[in-house]
Symmetry: C4
Subunit: 211 residues, 4 copies
């Protein structure tokens, strides 16, 4: 099989953008113990993604690799993370998606465990719901899917495909594991990530306060 060609300038720009944004997210404590990974689409066949197992606050260009949409390394001997396919399935299916962020904050982990049984966490009557693309009013009800954890990534990927068949979503939680959020570019993906984190924290705090 021939590997897709990669534009070096485009890769360098994507690596720089990933490194700078990953450092911000690490500083917030959302990437504990070298967890989490982050990607940007390069073109119709490839994406740049962080190599797993690195301290996300100190990435260098060598910590960014290229993968195709089957999650295989392109032009590199590095082994992509098993979770790579959860990024690339979004690029393969959704042409408008150009950035995927997977984080692992305390609140995301807690919510993923508390709401895995229900299968979703519901946000209602929050102004910040308008932060998600396509939401024009705070009166909407937003249900964020929560998948049961599973070491078999293709099973998770198949579950995500089912979710995407049903309606437009901008993220989901995996039990005990954190959040996937995405957008048309890094700024939108970060705005979605920020809104998910805020709303999840609201719901957790309301559980503590509302008794």
């Amino acid at each position: 099989m021939n590997s897709p060609a990669v534009d070096p300038a485009r890769l360098a720009a994507a690596a720089a953008e990933l490194i700078a944004n990953t450092r911000d997210l690490a500083a917030l404590g959302w990437t504990p113990a070298t967890s989490s990974n982050f990607s940007l689409r390069l073109d119709g066949q490839t994406a740049a993604i962080t190599v797993s197992g690195r301290d996300k606050g100190r990435l260098v260009p060598e910590d960014i690799m290229v993968v195709d949409f089957q999650g295989r390394a392109v032009g590199s001997d590095k082994r992509p993370s098993a979770e790579t396919v959860l990024h690339t399935q979004l690029y393969a299916r959704l042409p408008e998606v150009n950035c995927v962020l997977h984080t692992h904050s305390l609140a995301q982990t807690l919510a993923s465990k508390l709401y895995a049984g229900a299968g979703h966490i519901r946000f209602e009557e929050y102004e910040l719901i308008k932060a998600f693309r396509g939401q024009e009013t705070h009166e909407a009800v937003l249900d964020v899917p929560v998948l049961a954890n599973n070491q078999h990534i293709p099973t998770l990927a198949a579950q995500v495909d089912c979710l995407l068949d049903k309606k437009e979503i901008w993220g989901y939680l995996i039990e005990g594991h954190g959040l996937y959020a995405w957008g048309r570019d890094m700024a939108e993906a970060r705005r979605h990530l920020d809104a998910f984190e805020f709303l999840i924290n609201c719901e957790l705090e309301m559980r503590k306060l509302h008794r």
Copy 2:
């Protein structure tokens, strides 16, 4: 209709002050997902205000626009945020007010939801009550109004006018939406904002602790 004239030096100074202070507030996490907006009075007819939808930690001078006190853009094609009138109604009515800060912290959002039913949140026996202009003793009781959320901003503005008819206040909450705080200058508005945030956190924590 003739637009009011704007002094460019005054606008540049206001923009610089807004950008620096907004960056501080973003670093505290009080402006999640590009929410929140901030303004400074320029004169008797206009104010400088942050353009909506920008990352509040990275504003540049182009992200500040001028509006009149009906909330209309002055000398710009940018569309002001729908909430602009909640800033400008204060400038139009209260000549001593020169700065309005609207933030969206976790604690503000939680309190706005928990106390919307009561219509206010009460602070009692806190030394920090003296941080508000006109409060000379911690023995005062301070009731901060909480408005029900409403996508129809003129309705919110009319409710705020009723509140201002009754007594002097330095801020209010909107359900699910955050806080408006103001003062005679940026320093006083930030002192009021800081005191609101602190006292709101106190009340929320006391609910968790006092059972």
Copy 3:
């Protein structure tokens, strides 16, 4: 009455030390809304203290003034804070004390309200008790006094004098108002302050967790 003479070099050094340490404490969020004040002994008759009402994250040398041990301004028209005497009574009475820190953190405020009825908050079986001068073992029981708030500062000062008659202490809380902590120098006062803040947070969290 003749004012005591002040050594300008000593005052400049004390001001620099106060400004740097106050900035650290402001960054921790322990001085909300221009609250809190900090002092260093200059000699047997005077101390340098922060002027009240300033943003504690941005002090300049002009924000430090000299007071005598009755809490009166020395060589300045500035009005000392009413709470100045709670600093100077310690310098007047305890020759080994050279630094007093008064902060206003969320945890200090909460604990001061929750434990004012009991009159003290008790710390037991914490290794960090050894951070206080004179404590050699974590097996000690440490009772930190909590005074009822009172706008009449001489009454508070008289209560503190009674506490000091009974035993050696390195700090106390005032209801709704925060903490006073002190030490033989800035490093020791900050170590005591840090330990109080940590232990207070432990007790508050244990209340939430231990049911």
Copy 4:
């Protein structure tokens, strides 16, 4: 008795690495009130360790000393901390361990008190369990030992030896006192420390949320 020889270049490199990493951990608030200590193995007989009683955010090379594996100072008059032997027993026994980190975060202290009765804290169904060397799946159950506090350090050391006889562990808690975590190098020890802190916080929050 002859002291072991120390390679000055190796010591200087270890001191620099300890200082930089200790500053990071202090900034996280995990070393309150000059608590905590950190070490790196130098060779088969000695380790470099932080001197006790210093502000961990501001260490200088003179705050790093050399000890042998009985916890005695090498080439220095400084008195090693009583807890030194809890570091060196690991170097003496486990040849692959080259870094030991002892911290004192709020969450570690709380968990050490809440779970001392049970003797361990259990982590189950967390993706982050895979952050520990040798854990390949999140399906594992991880029990972290919690020792009763004891001012007699040799007793604690003997208890740790018993734990190490039973199975491979990468850390333990001491009641009221904090966490010991280690690894093959600084990066691995910090990854383990980070994972312990995250998982402990998860368990504490779940106690508050899950009722």
